[in-house]
């Protein structure tokens, strides 16, 4: 009912867990919400009772130190101890998960304002999206290239900061296939707002296919149009920032484009990746995601742009 009124999202919401940890966090939240609401209601009820009109000549209940100590000290202490125990239990479970050894390693490096994603065991470098298999433990090694970012996919897990000076680790296990949205949760500068990514949880099988496809380098047998596009890629200095596996293009400042054609989004989760959007992104990314680090390329002739798009389209 609520969802119909307000059209709530389910893909970036702590309220729609798809992992055991997130489900635990939700149950803990329910406990906390019920506890807090009860405390609130009881206190307000007491306030209302206290404010009731009273005949001062009549003798009646008169709260004193006992009342203050019971309602302010003893009862809260009991409630808070229960809270503390539940909290510690939940924390322990999370840290136990971090000790799992049978894991798939993924490194995520925060940049202003995008995500570099590395599968070290599979020699895959990609960006702004993460593919994972359902039901496996995935260990993320988080770090940052510049300022502090925070890695947060509410449906799956709480957040963990990405620091420039040392690495942090978080292990996740996703139960249900689907596309979930993650977003930077530590203010990281001008375009903090549009620094997001999709996490795609797929079956073991699909994941292996994805791995195989992404381990391939860029194709070398290019059509004429694509070859021209590659030259334009070089001419316009795209390569100084964007690497393409299997070529001499080794730029590190921006996302790796080896498989750009199969990416789901552009601008770190800002817009859908299609021909039209990609074109607009190249020409004037600043109008889509202001203050991102990519300059405008308004002076590329239309024909060259088409060739460039053709080339990028071949990077599957």
């Amino acid at each position: 009912m609520m969802n119909e009124w307000f059209n709530f999202n389910t893909f970036q919401s702590a309220w729609h867990p798809v992992s055991e940890v997130a489900s635990d966090m939700k149950s803990l939240s329910w406990f906390l919400i019920i506890m807090s609401t009860s405390v609130f209601i009881i206190t307000v009820l007491l306030l209302i009772l206290a404010l009731r009109k009273k005949d001062l000549t009549q003798k009646s209940f008169e709260p004193g130190n006992k009342f203050i100590l019971w309602s302010g000290l003893f009862i809260p202490t009991i409630v808070l101890i229960i809270t503390l125990v539940w909290s510690l239990q939940s924390s322990l479970k999370i840290s136990k998960m971090n000790q799992e050894e049978d894991v798939i390693n993924i490194q995520v490096i925060g940049h202003q304002f995008w995500w570099e994603v590395i599968y070290p065991d599979h020699h895959i470098i990609t960006a702004n999206e993460i593919y994972v298999p359902v039901g496996s433990n995935i260990k993320f090694e988080l770090s940052s290239q510049d300022v502090i970012h925070s890695f947060w996919i509410p449906n799956i897990h709480g957040k963990l900061d990405m620091l420039p000076d040392h690495k942090t680790y978080i292990t996740m296990n996703i139960e249900r296939p689907g596309r979930y949205r993650g977003q930077c949760a530590e203010f990281c500068g001008l375009q903090h707002a549009l620094m997001a990514f999709p996490l795609v949880a797929v079956s073991e099988n699909e994941f292996n296919q994805w791995l195989a496809r992404n381990q391939k380098k860029a194709p070398l047998d290019l059509s004429e149009k694509e070859s021209r596009g590659k030259e334009i890629y070089y001419r316009e200095s795209c390569h100084t920032c964007h690497a393409i596996g299997g070529t001499d293009f080794k730029g590190k400042a921006g996302p790796d484009l080896t498989h750009i054609a199969t990416r789901l989004t552009l601008g770190a989760g800002t817009i859908e990746n299609n021909q039209k959007n990609l074109k607009q992104w190249i020409v004037d990314s600043q109008s889509i995601k202001p203050m991102n680090r990519m300059p405008k390329y308004k002076n590329i002739p239309d024909k060259d742009l088409d060739d460039l798009l053709e080339y990028l389209g071949s990077l599957k």
Binding site: F6, S29, L56, S90, I148, S150, D165
Partner: protein, 832 residues
């Protein structure tokens, strides 16, 4: 009443009055006008911060809005947060305390009137300095928390310099006011107001003043380190050179968490005053409430890590800080139920201040329970840095601080202006504020759960949070109109409010025994606090000799009694300064010093800083005319109470204690940084350096350590008036300290590395520089003691003994710092 003849009364009143006209505007030092200025200025900043909030709410009303650029939005939330924290809440509370506290505890003024003036000017200059950045287009944009490295030289511009330097002035102002209010509560209370009878508002101010001294100093030090990174290229927070990204967060939140209680505790003090008055009886469970206030202040320093649960700290650390966070909830609970017990069945009148109490209680309890929720680590990992947190802390800060502030204004404004506010308009403003506040912030709890992070200028449509955000924006405008109506009510009351009379609420605390508005000296006769049923009893007030003699007296200079910190027995009569240019001028040259730093005109900075030091010396110079000294001696004779207090009887002694805490915390923050950096380094010293040769440092430090007992001996000789050799001893002491400074300087000049090499060398040099700074201060103190011995020995205002005690305190402190620094810098790396 004690009869006062007209002529005596006139001269007395003239002594307490400000100078005429524009001159008086800059030279006045009385607590009442300064308190009003603090509050007025804070309200202006509140309005500015509020306008920024509304602009942000417009931007967020609909998804994918690009009305504000990301830069502008980031600047807005940075300035909004910083303004509300640093320029509104704390200064307003300081102003209210400055105004009303002396009346509540029965003093004619605060302990250090010139310091209040100095603090006010610094606050005004710092706040203006900070806001000027908007006009140069360089408003800070790294958030009020200014996390490094984003706030470091590599990722942010001039805006951060405005932020650091502007706020540094405000921080110094805060520390000044903190020391001042703390000493005022401890030493300026009316005779008979022993600590166990202290009104709860004064309790909160006492605790908060101590917290300010501890917390603000750490912030001041942290911002200094940040500015050094930005300006001098040191490497504290530079992760490429061994600096740490999280050191800033530890220092910042060590300040930042207590900061919340620095705002909140006085708000509970306001509430306790209102509740006692409207329930027509003292607060129930007074002892528990006072205890809860002290515990809250204490425990709030053990909570800072709960702002950092998502930074990947060890499990055990997180568990500890969860536990501590829950303890503080209990302390707040006790206060809440004490208020409920107090009003139970008392049929309180639902006037505007009382309505704000009810609004406060409801909203604050809501903010309190969400506070318990976010202290739970796994829960926090989800809602941290989301709109849930935005909702939580606005419930605490608006519900828990702004409601009491408005309630307190409605309650005390009749005392301040002598005019009543309009009840109907007041009620309208309350309901607008209450409804608007809840409509704005309650939906944010849900938004946080549903994936809305903080500090984002826009959000995608698919997030599905457009409706809730729109609701929130509508609420914000209702909330804003509530404040507007409140301001209108205040201004209207000034023009055509009904006369308030002395005691419009039927309250029974001391300030209501005065006329409204009160005379500038507050009490013609220093009161003798006597209580009946736990409250000041006006009907029965024998005065005692000091009150009698000080009625409308002394006539040509300002004075007020000083009492024992615990028992409130009269211990001394305190001379208080009259109008002076010194505070204003000192603040101006300090402002120029900071401006010079901002504009990189370092010569100008150095020059104006020297003038500043000169002005401070002038300020501290004992300056009593012989005529006053004679009157003072006469007074001493009649009352049998000293006018030359020393030791714990003197406010100056307590002020010095405050200063030493400040300096200790300053050095302590550096020590903490040192060990923190060490903890996260592969090797220490970093970068294959070795610890420099310690001989010279050890030698100089030994001199400082020896200087402490020597100064102690001098003090004792002065006390017992035995020796004639103190001049030689003082000279020897001076030579020792000078020698120490020379050796330190020599050593620091030939250190084998630069301060900018890595984080180790940066912190090494900083500790070294700070201790040298202390030695320079000590040198000044030694010099002053020497010159004092050389000149007058007979009449001693303020007492020479006190002077030597101050010197002794500082020398002991310096000796300890010298030992500690040697251990930290030289010994620790060798043995660990």
């Amino acid at each position: 009443m004690i009869e006062v003849n007209d002529k005596k009364f006139k001269t007395f009143e003239k002594t307490w009055s400000n100078e005429e006209g524009i001159r008086g505007f800059f030279t006045l030092v009385n607590n009442q006008p300064l308190g009003k200025r603090f509050m007025g200025t804070a309200m202006v900043f509140f309005a500015l911060g509020g306008i920024l909030a509304l602009l942000m709410r417009i931007q967020l009303a609909v998804p994918e809005n690009n009305w504000l650029s990301p830069l502008t939005y980031n600047q807005f939330f940075t300035v909004h947060g910083s303004t509300m924290m640093f320029l509104f809440a704390v200064p307003f509370i300081e102003g209210l305390a400055l105004y009303i506290l002396p009346m509540i505890i029965g003093s004619r003024d605060v302990a250090f009137p010139r310091l209040s003036a100095f603090s006010y000017w610094l606050y005004l200059f710092g706040g203006t300095f900070f806001f000027i950045s908007f006009f140069t287009g360089d408003a800070p944009d790294s958030g009020w928390f200014a996390y490094t490295p984003l706030s470091g030289p590599k990722y942010s511009g001039l805006g951060l310099d405005f932020w650091v330097l502007g706020l540094a002035l405000v921080e110094i102002s805060g520390i000044g006011t903190g020391i001042e209010l703390g000493v005022t509560v401890l030493k300026m209370r009316a005779r008979g107001m022993s600590l166990n009878r202290l009104p709860l508002f004064a309790w909160t101010i006492l605790v908060v003043s101590i917290m300010i001294v501890f917390a603000f100093t750490v912030l001041l030090m942290a911002t200094t380190l940040l500015e050094m990174d930005r300006m001098l290229n040191t490497k504290f927070f530079n992760t490429d050179f061994g600096g740490s990204s999280l050191l800033w967060q530890h220092l910042f939140w060590f300040f930042g968490h207590p900061e919340v209680y620095i705002m909140f505790l006085p708000a509970t003090g306001i509430i306790s005053s209102i509740v006692a008055t409207f329930a027509r009886r003292p607060i129930k469970g007074y002892t528990y409430v006072a205890l809860a206030i002290v515990i809250t202040g204490f425990v709030s320093f053990g909570l800072w890590v709960h702002h950092m649960f998502a930074t990947g700290l060890p499990e055990l650390a997180n568990a500890f800080f969860t536990g501590a966070s829950l303890i503080i909830a209990v302390a707040s609970g006790i206060q809440v139920f004490a208020w409920i017990a107090t009003i139970w069945g008392r049929n309180p009148a639902f006037r505007v201040p009382f309505l704000y109490f009810i609004g406060f209680l409801v909203n604050f309890v809501a903010g309190g329970v969400t506070g318990v929720m976010v202290a739970v680590v796994p829960f926090d990992l989800q809602v941290h840095d989301t709109f849930f947190i935005v909702a939580h802390f606005h419930y605490v800060l608006i519900g828990g601080v702004l409601f009491p502030v408005f309630g307190g204004l409605a309650y005390w404004l009749p005392k301040i202006t002598g005019k009543m506010m309009n009840e109907r308009i007041g009620k309208l403003s309350f309901w607008l504020t209450f409804a608007g506040f809840n409509i704005t912030f309650f939906p944010m709890h849900f938004m946080g759960f549903l994936g809305m992070p903080r500090r984002i200028y826009t959000y995608p449509n698919e997030l599905g949070l457009g409706e809730l955000n729109m609701l929130s924006t509508i609420g914000a405008f209702i909330l804003g109109s509530g404040s507007l109506v409140f301001f209108y009510d205040v201004i209207k009351s000034l023009k055509c409010g009904a006369p308030a009379g002395n005691n419009p609420w039927g309250a029974r605390s001391l300030e209501w025994s005065l006329s409204s508005p009160p005379p500038i000296y507050s009490f013609l006769t220093p009161p003798h606090y006597q209580e009946k049923d736990g409250e000041f009893d006006e009907t029965h007030r024998p005065q005692g000799i000091v009150s009698e003699v000080l009625t409308a007296a002394p006539t040509t200079w300002r004075a007020t009694p000083v009492t024992h910190a615990l028992t409130a027995e009269v211990e001394a009569i305190q001379w208080l300064p009259g109008p002076t240019w010194l505070p204003f001028l000192s603040a101006v040259v300090l402002l120029i010093t900071f401006l010079g730093m901002l504009l990189k005109l370092y010569l100008l900075s150095a020059f104006s800083f020297f003038i500043f030091v000169g002005l401070i010396i002038q300020w501290l110079w004992p300056s009593m005319s012989p005529k006053i000294q004679q009157e003072a001696l006469a007074l001493e004779e009649i009352t049998g109470v000293t006018l030359r207090p020393s030791g714990t009887k003197s406010t100056v002694w307590w002020g010095m204690l405050g200063l030493i805490i400040v300096l200790t915390m300053g050095m302590g923050s550096l020590f903490f940084s040192y060990f923190y950096l060490w903890l996260y380094s592969d090797m220490w010293p970093q970068g294959n350096l070795s610890v420099p040769d310690q001989k010279l440092f050890l030698g100089a430090s030994a001199l400082l350590v020896l200087s402490a007992p020597l100064m102690f001996w001098i003090k004792r000789e002065i006390q017992t008036r035995k020796s004639r050799h103190i001049f030689i001893a003082a000279l020897l002491n001076f030579i020792m300290v000078s020698l120490a400074l020379i050796i330190y300087t020599w050593d620091v000049l030939k250190l084998p590395f630069d301060p900018t090499l890595n984080a180790y060398t940066s912190v090494f040099y900083s500790i070294y520089w700070l201790i040298m700074g202390f030695v320079v201060v000590d040198l000044g103190i030694c010099l002053s003691v020497m010159s004092r011995i050389g000149t007058d020995k007979k009449i001693e205002f303020p007492g020479f003994l006190l002077h030597s005690q101050i010197a002794n305190m500082f020398a002991s402190f310096l000796g300890l710092v010298a030992i500690a620094s040697w251990i930290v810098l030289y010994l620790a790396p060798q043995i660990i």
